[in-house]
């Protein structure tokens, strides 16, 4: 519920071990995906000789910078498959991790503002329902019942013509999620190694043998990349070129406010998505900055534009105050879908291109990526997201359904 104090974190989270000389699996990237992958490698596949290498502090990249929306109402079967798998895991994750991750299934509204939005939205709802995903189409008055502060006045510039609604969707507390995975991974004996930047990847006879890091060389049977926005930089180390572009994505929070916003509202047409987090702050995301950038900061006019759009939708926000803005680096693909699977280098695995969808996928992709790394074969849920699709043309194009697929 909104407005309650956050639960305390446990008294112990993880060790801070020095890296060993060699591991069975080295995961590059100590964000949500890397930590979840480590956890499921141990839990589902019994592999614990693992190091998770993080160049900064654990979960300090996109995991610390996202707006924590969790939903599975994607258009295409392939997408809804992996996101729904993830959502099902979210539903039991608190018990599984024994960590109060504050997963709150308060529902997500995706607003439609044009007649074409309505067509696209209803198409998605119909597809979701047939895929067993809870999805509804709501007329404007029903939108107002779910979220009374949404302005459904038909005379505004881009009136709300309806919305899709996924009741099981929601939000969670990002740090708690990451630390929950990290604590469990650490308890399995997995080494979480911070301030350890990978500077090279060793390949012998087409097969990965280890990584070079700022804390020494580490041999590895398998290397799993989970570097989000920095994946291109990592892949470049083995000469692997990927269809990725890294862009800044900005977000912001307000001060703590009495509960006003009971759900999550997303509007792709005007690039607003907003929820009210557990303590009462409004958490909002903006559109992606247009240019490639690793600077973890975006341009201010994006935020300005977003504030204007937010006030059109939520006039009550006028005197809420913007407390902090920040930016993450999202790695985007040509079809707005991720790449998860094998690479041309034996025993080197790839998980990237999540764009704005990474947080919600955390348990799902951790599960599937662990399967891929452990067995050397993609899990059925991530098989459609192979790198090869860009050659065959079998894209999973989520642009049409959601220009900004948060």
């Amino acid at each position: 519920m909104t407005g309650t104090p956050l639960p305390d974190h446990p008294d112990f989270l993880w060790r801070n071990p020095d890296p060993k000389r060699s591991y069975e699996v080295v995961i590059v990237g100590g964000g949500g995906h890397g930590l979840a992958t480590a956890y499921y490698l141990a839990k589902n596949h019994g592999i614990t000789d693992i190091a998770v290498l993080e160049k900064g502090w654990l979960a300090g990249g996109n995991m610390a910078r996202n707006t924590t929306i969790i939903r599975s109402n994607y258009l295409w079967d392939e997408s809804s498959g992996i996101y729904e798998h993830s959502l099902k895991l979210w539903e039991t994750l608190e018990e599984d991790l024994d960590y109060p991750i504050l997963f709150s299934q308060r529902g997500v509204l995706n607003l439609a503002h044009t007649l074409q939005d309505i067509r696209d939205s209803r198409r998605r709802v119909h597809a979701n329902q047939l895929n067993g995903i809870d999805a509804e189409w709501l007329e404007p008055d029903e939108v107002a019942k779910v979220c009374p502060i949404v302005n459904i006045d038909p005379d505004v510039r881009y009136p709300v013509l309806g919305a899709t609604y996924q009741p099981r969707a929601g939000i969670a507390k990002h740090d708690y999620v990451a630390w929950g995975f990290a604590r469990r991974a650490d308890a399995y004996g997995i080494d979480l190694i911070q301030n350890c930047e990978v500077t090279g990847i060793d390949v012998t006879d087409g097969r990965v043998t280890g990584v070079r890091t700022t804390r020494g060389d580490i041999a590895a049977g398998k290397v799993a990349l989970a570097g989000a926005g920095h994946t291109s930089v990592l892949a470049e180390m083995v000469g692997l070129r990927l269809p990725l572009q890294s862009h800044p994505l900005q977000a912001l929070v307000s001060e703590l406010l009495e509960p006003v916003h009971p759900t999550v509202v997303m509007s792709n047409a005007v690039h607003v998505y907003v929820s009210q987090a557990h303590k009462g702050e409004l958490v909002m995301g903006a559109g992606i900055d247009s240019y490639n950038g690793y600077g973890q900061r975006g341009a201010f006019h994006i935020i300005e534009r977003q504030m204007a759009a937010a006030l059109e939708l939520f006039p009550v926000f006028a005197r809420a105050h913007m407390l902090r803005t920040w930016a993450g680096i999202v790695d985007t693909t040509p079809d707005a879908s991720p790449i998860v699977g094998l690479t041309p280098v034996e025993n080197l695995y790839l998980n990237c291109g999540w764009g704005t969808g990474g947080f919600k996928a955390t348990p799902g992709v951790g599960w599937c990526y662990a399967h891929t790394v452990a067995t050397g074969e993609p899990h059925p849920y991530n098989a459609p997201f192979a790198l090869s699709r860009f050659v065959t043309g079998a894209l999973v194009d989520e642009h049409g359904a959601a220009a900004v697929a948060h």
Binding site: W14, I118, D120, A310
Partner: protein, 934 residues
Amino acid sequence: MSNAFRVDALGSVDRDKSLSFTFDGREYTGHPGDTLASALLANGVHHVATSIKYGRPRGIMTAGVEEPNALVQIEFPFPEPMLTATTVELYDGLVARGLSGQGRLSTRPDTARYDTVHAHCDVLVVGAGPAGLAAALTASRAGVRVVVVDELPSPGGSLPGTAPACEWVADVTDELSANSDVQLLRRTTAIGYYDDGLVLALEKRTDHLGAAAPAHVSRQRVWRIRARQVVFATGAYERPIAFDDNDRPGIMLAGSARTYLGRFGVLAGREVVVFTTNDSAYLAATELADAGARVRAVIDARSEVPAHWLDACAARGIEVRAGQAVSGTSGAERITGVRVGDEEIGCDLLLVSGGWNPAVALFSQARGTLRYDGVLGGFVPAGALDTVRTAGAARGVLGSAEVVSDGAEAALGALAALGKTAGEPVALPAVGDAPAGAPGAVLWQVPGSDDAQFVDLQRDQTVADVLRATGAGLTSVEHVKRYTTIGTAHDQGRTSGVLTSGIVAAALGVDIAELGTPRLRPPALPVAFAAFAGRNRGELFDPVRVTSLHRWHVEHGALFENVGQWKRPWYYPVGGETIEEAVLRECRAAREGVGMMDGSTLGKISVQGPDSGELLDRFYTNVMSSLKVGRVRYGVMCGVDGMVFDDGTVLRLAEEEFLVTTTTGNAAKVLDRMEEWLQTEWPDLRVRLTSVTEHWATIPLVGPRSRDVLALVAPTLDVSNAAFGFMTWQDTVVADVPARVARISFSGELAYEINVPAWYAHTVWEALYAAGGPFGITPYGTETMHVLRAEKAYPIIGQDTDGTITPQDLGMSWVVSGKKDEFVGRRSFDRAENRRADRKQLVGLLPVDERTLLPEGAQIIATETVPAPPVPMLGHITSSYRSDALGRTFALALLRGGTRRVGETLYVPLEGRTVAVTVTDPVLYDKEGTRRDG
């Protein structure tokens, strides 16, 4: 007892006027020039808020934006959540209350205006304290353009309210004001440094006027100041010390008590204890004593206290205890005493100074690097940047005279960087600074009960919380911040950040210089959403684009559809018709009589030059270069991925001139794309592109009687089929207006597209409307257009396509030239995925029940009963309408292997049932094309 703590002869509030205000339900008075905090203190009110986690009483700890405690909710004149009482200027009628953690948003609409202004200068000075004023005056005298922003209502900053200081400030301010190249912005706080010298600042223009604020003046203004050189003279924030129960009302930072006394004439307490690690608090001790307070003791953590401060205290009967510390406090609603060693000293005010933290947030945003200053116990700028420098306390320089010199010095640096020569040096104020003092001690914490020692008062986090975080294995301050939430509140950790780092460093046994502090993110001050939205609200939120016929549509009752930024007539209901009734009527008119619509939003690109045909051949999937002058051809463009990008007609106007039309939504994209390839890939082609979208108004005149109507208004035009055939165009005169008319049909009916310069659109439209009267001419909108074209299976790009559809998928292999080796996207047709026989293809769907209207977006399955999920889906419905011409409903769909399924019965699952549909060829009306010639 009103204003019992007001001291005569000090401060600059206007005592001739009284202001009434209400706080927590009680009425008080204050004066113009007060803040809410100073007025409360003048009335002896210290307990103003309640802490978020433990519900402890909290007071007023500071006098500025760094305030962690005194959070208030404004209730009148308009509710505003979570402001600091220390920054709310008092006005008559203010109603506020203290907060416990959460603010409240108003449910009333905020009708205040907000705006944005761009400003440009050579030197921007942030802060009009002694350093800032000196910097501004130095820059001003060099003849450059200067902007100065300062958060207070009047310049002067931390300078004491003594006569010589005030005089200096007045002189400097007068000189700055007299220079038309200097802009001094009061009540204006810099909130962020962005790239290339852009500083955003928020000006509070009318907040201090309360309900008397004029409605036509913006309440707050965002300044976007683009400066070639920036000087941050942002001062420093005093640092608290962690000791037991350090959060009670009546515990205040020492410098803030000076501010209350000097600026507002308010004595924050009568029985005072001072706890310090440095010299600066002695100013507070002596000034408060001089103003009538009884200063019981100065507890100095240092073992050596400078002699002149000992003397000054002795002269005032103030006991100085060196080498001691305050270890705890007592009191409930207000502090009643402090514990020093075993001794309890009674007091109603405890002043604390743990040293000073330079205000480096903006410098840090400018990507300036910081270094730890061990003497100061804080982080200071490591050095100036090319275009950004800091001055005064913001870079750790303390002492008024030094600060003024440092400000001038910074401006000289900026001028040198600009290549400008300095003018006359700035005179120093005669502020009679105290003799040089001793360095401060760095003290984070006094040993005691960790769980009673507050580090972040706003988040109610204690030393124990910090130690729990480090004990959990956290070694990064960013992790500690997240574990404890320290520094994430309203004040962004201005008072808690460095203190936290100090405690973490001590706990982990690492160097604080290595550990650093959590990153400070913009904005430096919380800013109302509405201020950033500015005037981009309501009708100015996003431009509404209208055609030259817009007024006519409005006057004739059209309802409008948003298409991109355009407003297009959607349908024209008559006499209370529903959309369905109106569209059936409009369709019937176009099929049986004559209709007209406003097609002006179609994109129009003039393509000229000897290589125009070649350029078009490279873009369109069919051949355009072979088009004869006077003729029109339909074409499709694909992306490099082979997917349909846009479609439209191409007119060949002359041997070297074509007119390309695009869809409304893609007009700019098509032109941009053609320009991009022309400029970057094919600069050798001699072609020029010019948008003429808005020069021409376009009026399709549609239906079997369109020829009759046109003949009436274009008497010089031979409208016969022989003279004016399908897919040709002619220049003529329509309603006395020079016009270009084309025989183009997006409905299958006989139709003319009349193009006239937009100024004449209204005249020509009215002439057509009048001439068509006897034929029942009917204006129609986009909905009818969609139905008419769907009956003919003409796709709408973006509705019947979704970026995954090729021309072949649309059944338009005929538009893909077999003669050309190459056009953009052709290669993609040969990919494995494109060769699949079961690609989705455009088909018609006829519901077996002729009255059932299928919802657009519905999915198609193979079985009458819906199997358990996941259900295999064959495709979806892209367009679905009731057809007057067919006398039934119909739909278009993208269906897997669709062309081979013609004749099959498939099912559309809807809520709780399935609808049987027959797959058909998509062209459902006049397949033979007999109607296009009338």
